[in-house]
Symmetry: C2
Subunit: 212 residues, 2 copies
């Protein structure tokens, strides 16, 4: 399986969103140029990115929207759904449990874990909530190997270690700390701090410019 460039992978969902819009508008075919305009990505870039999915378009006409969407979903492995576990049923965790789009993006939260006794034994959005002690047993029984980390920063490393011990191979990390993990573990951070850093600086640059 070919390693697709990081930045190409990050753009593919944008194209998917654009295609969804075009589809809803009743279109059947679309050109890379149209996608480029909608997503603000250079049209050559779009063509190159799409080439990674293996689709071939027809000159003058473009691509079948349905075909293209399927190709992107196949490339991201969003066509078959992986089960995953969520740890941390705070507001953020609950937001993720209620986020139905996840199913369209290849992920299903089949169980959640928390240390709050008031939550343990209950469900949220139909998803059962267990004590962390049951994580290892359940993950091996259900063959789950993806974990979502939505606990406070202080607990993140400890929970990550437990996930690893239970055979998790990929962690989607919503805590703002850098986890120390072995090389082979797949880790994706939702890095709010990085995003906020860019926003803050750009605002400061903007306001400073105005004063001139």
């Amino acid at each position: 399986m070919e390693a697709i460039p990081l930045l190409t992978l990050k753009r593919l969902p944008q194209y998917l969103e654009a295609l969804n819009r075009f589809k809803k508008a009743g279109l059947k075919m679309v050109s890379a140029t149209k996608i480029a305009v909608f997503t603000d990505v250079h049209m050559t870039q779009v063509r190159k990115d799409l080439a990674y999915t293996g689709v071939v378009g027809t000159p003058k006409v473009g691509h079948h929207i349905d075909e293209l969407m399927q190709a992107i979903e196949r490339t991201l492995n969003w066509n078959d759904i992986s089960s995953c576990f969520l740890v941390g049923v705070g507001h953020l965790g609950k937001a993720l449990m209620g986020y139905s789009e996840l199913n369209k993006k290849g992920l299903r939260i089949v169980a959640a874990f928390d240390k709050d006794p008031d939550l343990i034994g209950n469900t949220h959005q139909g998803i059962p909530i267990y004590s962390m002690e049951r994580f290892e047993n359940l993950s091996s029984r259900l063959h789950v190997h993806i974990g979502i980390l939505a606990v406070p920063a202080e607990a993140a490393q400890e929970v990550a270690d437990k996930m690893l011990a239970a055979g998790i191979i990929a962690i989607w990390n919503f805590s703002n700390i850098k986890l120390q993990l072995p090389e082979h573990i797949i880790i994706e951070n939702i890095d709010m701090s990085a995003s906020l850093a860019v926003l803050s600086r750009r605002v400061a640059e903007h306001l400073h410019q105005e004063q001139l």
Copy 2:
């Protein structure tokens, strides 16, 4: 005010986190090499990034931790706190309202907005919740020009338009759709789809590799 490269800005918070750890461990001085090891960034990269903050270290010794932290915070404008408005008091919005770290990162949510009558008039974490109708009036009175967008995808564009009409210049967008906004508006997306795309693909690549 100099425009700092995007990727440098995104790394600065990582350095800040590392410095915090070192400080808590009782250290006073730190070398770029140590930061590099902790953050998994190449040491030359760290030195270059730090140079943007204006600090000068001393050969053989390194940098004062306190001085370096202040320099980074100044660069990101995290030393003075901007007021901002949050729209969307769902689970995600509440998570942000309760996220105390925001204050250490230059942002304070001073009011939230929602269309749910049960929420309007109440507070969460001490932050008052208003109807969206009051957004424009309050933003001009309180001189707020940063908006956090935490509403469902369907409502995102509409709310963004209202924010613009009210004089917002920067939007921190947590919805997974690409907003159509004028050039001069500063927009930062928390792009969960992009992150999930990378995770999904890497997992698929990993599992496929195992089968060989």
